[in-house]
Symmetry: C2
Subunit: 202 residues, 2 copies
C-alpha cells in the first residue's frame, strides 16, 4: 500500500494528518505538481482527474480524493473515530467536512489558482473570479467563528476530520494572504489547540 | 423529520432519488430559490451556507449537503446499500461520488450561475469562468464514458449514489446545453438504464 502525494500541497496534508491521528504508517511517493508529474499517463491511469493524493492498495485498486482515502482507513481502523460514531453524528461530521471543503479549502484553492496563474499551463486563470473566491473563503471564517462559540470542535464535542480539513485550509490560505482576524477569538483558540496536536506536523 | 428543498433544483433531486431507492417516505417543504427563501434568517440558522436540501430531524438537528443527508439514511437503513458494502467498496463509491460532484455537477452549476447570471443578486457572475466550467464538465463526460467501457455502473458492479449524482448532473446540464454526444455510446446505454429506474422520477 502506498500514497502518491506532494508534500507541500494542502490536500495530501489532510490525509497524512488523518493517518497520524490513527497511528497508521504509510509509504509515500512524491510527485512534483509544477512539473506535471501528476499528469503522466501512468498517474492518469490511477486517477483520471490527475490530482493528488492517490492511495494505491496492494491489489492495485486506486482511491483518489482525500475524503475517500480517509473513508477507507476509517473503515479498516475505526479507532479513534474521526468521521462520527452513529448515524446522526456521522451525518453532522460529513456536513461540516463537506462545507469546510467547499466553502473554505476549495475557495482558497480557486483563489490561488486564478489569481497567481500557478497552473496556467493547464487551465485558464480568471483573476476576477479568483478574487471572488478569496472573498468567499474570508466570509466562511465568520461562520466557523460562530460555530465555535458553542462547540469545542467543528462537528461538536469531538475532534474529527472536519477539524483536520479546516486546519489545512487555514494554513494554505496564507498563500493568498487570507488569515484569521482579531475578531475571530474562538477560531484563534481552536486553531491553537488543533495546531498543537502531534498530527499537525505529519 | 422533514427536508427543505426546491423541487426543480438538481441537488434535492439527488436526495429524493436516494430515498426512493431505499423506499423511505419523507415530508418535503418547498423553498423558492429565486425569491431567496433559502436565505432567510430561519433557513440560515438551519444551514449557514443557505443552500438546499436541508434535512431537519425530529430533535431539531439540521443536516445540510446532499451527501451528508444520504450518509444519514445509509446508516439508519443500510438496505439496499448505495454507498458501498465494505471498506474498499465504500472508498471506491466515495471517490466516484465526489469526482462526479466536483468535476461534473459543480462545473455545470458554476457554468449555469456564471453564464446566465441567475443568482446575480447574491454573487458576481464572471462569464469567462463560467464558460471554462462548462468545458470542464464536457471533458469529464469522456472520463465517465471510458469508465463505463469496463463497468456497468460508475463505482463498479452495483448501482450506487454515484450513479444518482451523475444522472442528476447530466439532466441538469441541459440548462447550459451540455449533452451526451454520439461518441458516448457506453454513457448513453448507462443513461437509459439509470433513467428507467422508478427512482429517477422521484
Amino acid at each position: 500500500m502506498k500514497i502518491y502525494e506532494t508534500r507541500s500541497a494542502p490536500n495530501p496534508r489532510r490525509v497524512r494528518m488523518f493517518l497520524a491521528e490513527k497511528n497508521i504508517e504509510m509509504e509515500y511517493v512524491q510527485l512534483d505538481l509544477q512539473k506535471g508529474e501528476n499528469l503522466s499517463a501512468e498517474m492518469r491511469a490511477k486517477n483520471p482527474l490527475g490530482k493528488v493524493p492517490v492511495l494505491e492498495l496492494d491489489d492495485g485498486t486506486c482511491i483518489a480524493e482525500s475524503d475517500a482515502i480517509c473513508t477507507y482507513f476509517e473503515n479498516i481502523q475505526p479507532d479513534p473515530p474521526l468521521m462520527g460514531v452513529d448515524a446522526k453524528d456521522k451525518a453532522v461530521v460529513a456536513m461540516w467536512q463537506r462545507q469546510v471543503e467547499l466553502a473554505l479549502m476549495m475557495q482558497v484553492g480557486l483563489c490561488f489558482q486564478h489569481t497567481t496563474g500557478y497552473f496556467k499551463d493547464r487551465m485558464v486563470p480568471v483573476a476576477e473570479f479568483g478574487e471572488e473566491a478569496g472573498i468567499n473563503a474570508s466570509k466562511y471564517l465568520n461562520i466557523l467563528e460562530h460555530r465555535l462559540e458553542t462547540h469545542p470542535y467543528l462537528a461538536g464535542e469531538r475532534f474529527t476530520i472536519a477539524d483536520i480539513t479546516a486546519l489545512c485550509a487555514i494554513d494554505f490560505a496564507r498563500v493568498v494572504k487570507i488569515r484569521l482576524q482579531d475578531k475571530h477569538k474562538n477560531l484563534h483558540n481552536w486553531y491553537e489547540r488543533i495546531s498543537a496536536r502531534d498530527s499537525a506536523s505529519a
